[in-house]
Symmetry: C2
Subunit: 366 residues, 2 copies
């Protein structure tokens, strides 16, 4: 339906689509930063490693204002490829989906209204002390999720955290999943070896080994995770009791599933992954294989294709740069579902092209 790609468990995916089409979602973007992102070569979510602190706040400012406030221009990779928040912003505006922002811990605060669940960014996981107060963040997020579920038909939850695939690898390995060389990257050349080395350093400092925290996701996040994870998981725990939740992201979503599976497995019945075609076609990662290890959650991918974009910055997505983030895939799917197909992939691409032009030209989308 609507040219969606059912990448895993088609039947359950179609059931979700049937249930929510024409309904009213809310989008929640969970942001956080981790010092892990500053390890050279780990993240492309910022022109330089030090700039990754600004990427999540700039991303959500773009969603609210059509321009960033804490930086000039918009977040880009070292090669100048733009943030997927352009996709998210365009889809939200086209379909008039409301947006709420939750922070698990940031260094730089966005100039928007947001729910701050903790004050500090995550530490470099090589310290083996990645996140403080994980349970408190999770419990507060849960309360917000419960309240949002009361006034929406379903939730779309996305994330923006540079370095998030490395912390994801940390949590999945700590919980005993075979995740090496399966986690995605914002770079076309996925630095698998570097990520494993970083995680192993964290394990050594924390005094844990592969699979040691199979039953303790809270501790896994505390030691080698990031502050996005408890905020994101808490939201799903609160909302999915009552309403379907489309968790919007790439392989990082598998860490969320692993956390949820241990804390409240029955909630997973109400959870679907929404991602992009670039993720499911990526040769350097394996979302399906990872999900399959944890729980049989359906995967739906947005059929976004930038090969006919007018702009090289967007065409680069077809070569495996960026791929996903800021809930881009899930929000694109939700915009099409909300409009019952009146918004098409073609319309989305045209509008994304247009907005990219405006951001380069005037620095703002009206």
């Amino acid at each position: 339906m609507y040219g969606l790609i059912y990448a895993y468990r088609r039947g359950k995916g179609e059931k979700f689509v049937k249930e929510v089409k024409g309904k009213k979602p809310v989008f929640v973007c969970v942001i956080a930063t981790t010092e892990t992102a500053k390890i050279p070569g780990i993240s492309a979510a910022g022109r330089y490693p030090e700039l990754t602190d600004y990427t999540p706040p700039a991303d959500v400012e773009l969603l609210f204002y059509g321009k960033c406030k804490c930086i000039s221009g918009i977040p880009v990779t070292p090669e100048g490829i733009p943030t997927p928040a352009i996709i998210t912003m365009t889809a939200l505006k086209l379909s008039n989906i409301p947006v709420f922002v939750v922070s698990g811990g940031l260094k730089i605060k966005p100039k928007i209204p947001f729910i701050g669940l903790a004050d500090k960014p995550g530490m470099d996981i090589r310290t083996g002390k990645a996140v403080e107060n994980v349970e408190e963040i999770l419990n507060k997020a849960k309360l917000f999720g419960e309240n949002l579920a009361k006034i929406s038909d379903y939730l779309v939850v996305g994330e923006s955290i540079p370095g998030g695939t490395t912390t994801c690898l940390g949590v999945l390995l700590a919980m005993g999943y075979d995740a090496k060389r399966k986690i995605s990257s914002s770079m076309p050349e996925n630095p698998h070896n570097l990520k494993v080395k970083v995680v192993e350093e964290g394990f050594k400092k924390a005094g844990i080994s592969f699979g040691a925290l199979k039953e303790d996701p809270i501790k896994a996040v505390s030691l080698v995770g990031d502050p996005m994870m408890p905020a994101f998981s808490g939201l799903v725990l609160g909302a999915a009791k009552e309403k379907p939740v489309l968790i919007a992201g790439g392989t990082q979503m598998v860490a969320i599933l692993a956390i949820l599976k241990t804390l409240k497995p029955d909630i997973l019945e109400n959870v679907v992954i929404g991602t992009t075609r670039w993720i499911i076609q990526d040769k350097n990662s394996d979302l399906k294989g990872l999900v399959d290890q944890v729980t049989k959650t359906p995967i739906i991918a947005a059929n976004l294709n930038f090969s006919k974009s007018k702009h090289d910055g967007l065409k680069a997505y077809e070569y495996g740069v960026v791929k996903e983030g800021v809930g881009a895939g899930g929000v694109a799917i939700a915009s099409i579902l909300k409009s019952k197909g009146k918004i098409t992939w073609k319309i989305l691409l045209e509008k994304i092209d247009e907005n990219y032009e405006k951001l380069i030209g005037m620095g703002k989308v009206e």
Copy 2:
């Protein structure tokens, strides 16, 4: 309808009730603190003046958890009379209305998910420098209001800020309204003279006089207002473009109306005051007379009557203590409207009595 009291402009009030009955509201509680509350004799919203810092966070914790976390017990006046948050909590639970919390600036942070629009509490208005970044707080609150309006049928907005009637007097006098001896108080003996003296000291320090800021509410709030005001006004500005807003409070709501009237008068068509019988029957204040000076906004009052309560702490409301706060009147009205009268004043009273007992006994409402 439903035994509501139409205290001012019955026709418009009835129209609002007809429009929203059976519909789904969200409740937003705007909290903040001001050093003004610590002037001895100004506020009864706390056992001692220094404890007023804890009252707003404790109030919203009560709404989320059925108990307070930042204090033991619940907020009380110096005589031990309980916070009106008991009414709000009871009505929210009975009618399953979702709650969101926005802070304009606090000293003590509540242990709940909330949107913090600024980091600092308000200063003592005798300094003539009451609130920093008023416009920024207002603009961020507006964005949150816009997003909430997209997913709810109407908003109920309440407040908790000790000392708020004094800052209200400050803003109304700065804007040229005849407000002396008309503003309410949480104490039965309204300290009108003290409040005027405090405002006059602020005026002197700020170098302004009565009516000097008739056209500049932003400056009036900056000099002699409080941080609740821009957060509250911004929410209404964002939401009332699209959906009706029940502003829930006593005479403080008149400062909000005065701000809105200057910034965006047409928005007022979509605004109604929801308050308590204790406010409209108060001999020591004049809500109707104040509203009448600013704009013809209808007033609907909750017909709560504690004279038959089993508890002296609640009966005291009948003698003019507390009267209103934490959106108690508006949320009571909304709970009755949402249930189309299935929830009655009698049911509310019984449940409030029961919850008060639990809070005294076990310290928690399940």
